[in-house]
Assembly symmetry: C2
């Protein structure tokens, strides 16, 4: 499958040119993110929570955090909890001469699906390792693995990537020709996540060196501390 | 009001020490953000979208974007559309010696409420100016104001800040004492939004200088290009 099928709820009403369904594009955005926002319905009302996640192949894994009481509903129901998961990367501020034309450059993926419990211990362990590596690639194999007790205390739910759309805005402002001559600055302020120098925990043994995956340039943010 | 009332859905089940209800703390997080994620319910299923917003006093304004078809439901119903609005700021990656202890430092605000249409043209104009200034403080008075036609083409909904919680994690990893001696690097990688040098639009008149509010240090990101 190179593209996700287009459904009613993944069809945009505006800015159709910004929306795509290519699997590779969705993976690129999902893999670049640190946090997702997951929405679900509780007593008929919407609830949204930020949480860490990981993508492994065609599956998205969500790590239980605060609000676990709601996510655990998904774990209790084999049919799963209907969710909408969004990953958004902010890439820039777009300044046009007109207030109306202001925008932001971004990449976002919206996933509709059901969050289902993981019942296979091997899949759960792999999912948790993937969540660690999603945030810090290379870390999962360079820390103490979880104990059975830790695994049993962790809620991880799975969402199959089947109903997915990608929305991307790039480029500069789109001013009306009449506005081009107005005496206001117009253009783009590029934005992105930036990592500062790592801060070791107090008491870290001097024998423990900074691992390569935390060196400048190895971290996920494009603008790691130089 | 210095604190929001605690309700069933703003009571955490885990990490209670991270959750607060102080209005000033909520404002600080809301004012620091660029994007929110807004969740609502469509045909019984959750939908989450990223969008720009602004806080003005006790009100949050949401700017209609893709998915406007759903947000417009709120505009059609005077009772408003039940929403959950979340602003999340990622501040760092927290590496413990154990996979289980990994975490992220962040600040987030969760708002439960109803998104209601703005019927007063003056409030709508003020809300749109606030959205521009939320992203680029100082910009709203330094661009062409919206025309009546542009105003009528823009959906802005209002959410009163009444049921609000703040969640903040700071500091280093919390390793089990038994793990302290393990030979893995542990600590924090500080993260934040970083602005690169502004890119003027092609054809910008050389008479138009970079305004002060776009100078390094004036932008919202703490780590503006130096």
């Amino acid at each position: 499958m190179s593209s996700y099928p287009v459904t009613g709820r993944t069809t945009p009403t505006r800015h159709r040119e910004r929306v795509g369904y290519e699997v590779a594009k969705a993976y690129a955005v999902l893999d670049a993110g640190y946090l997702c926002h997951v929405g679900f319905v509780v007593d008929g009302a919407p609830v949204v929570l930020p949480t860490v996640y990981a993508r492994v192949g065609e599956r998205l894994y969500l790590h239980g955090s605060t609000g676990a009481r709601w996510l655990l509903r998904g774990a209790e129901d084999p049919a799963g909890l209907p969710v909408c998961v969004v990953v958004t990367l902010l890439d820039g501020l777009v300044l046009s001469r007109s207030a109306f034309g202001h925008s932001v450059n971004y990449r976002s993926v919206v996933v509709h699906g059901a969050a289902r419990p993981i019942t296979d211990p091997a899949e759960q362990a792999a999912a948790l390792a993937a969540v660690v590596d999603q945030v810090i690639p290379g870390r999962a194999t360079d820390c103490r693995p979880p104990t059975a007790k830790e695994l049993s205390a962790t809620a991880v739910l799975r969402v199959d990537l089947a109903e997915v759309s990608v929305k991307i805005r790039t480029g500069g402002p789109l001013d009306q020709p009449d506005d081009d001559g107005l005496p206001y600055w117009a253009g783009v302020i590029p934005l992105g996540m930036h990592a500062d120098a790592p801060i070791p925990v107090q008491g870290l043994s001097p024998d423990v060196r900074l691992p390569g995956y935390l060196e400048p340039g190895a971290l996920k943010p494009a603008r790691a501390a130089s």
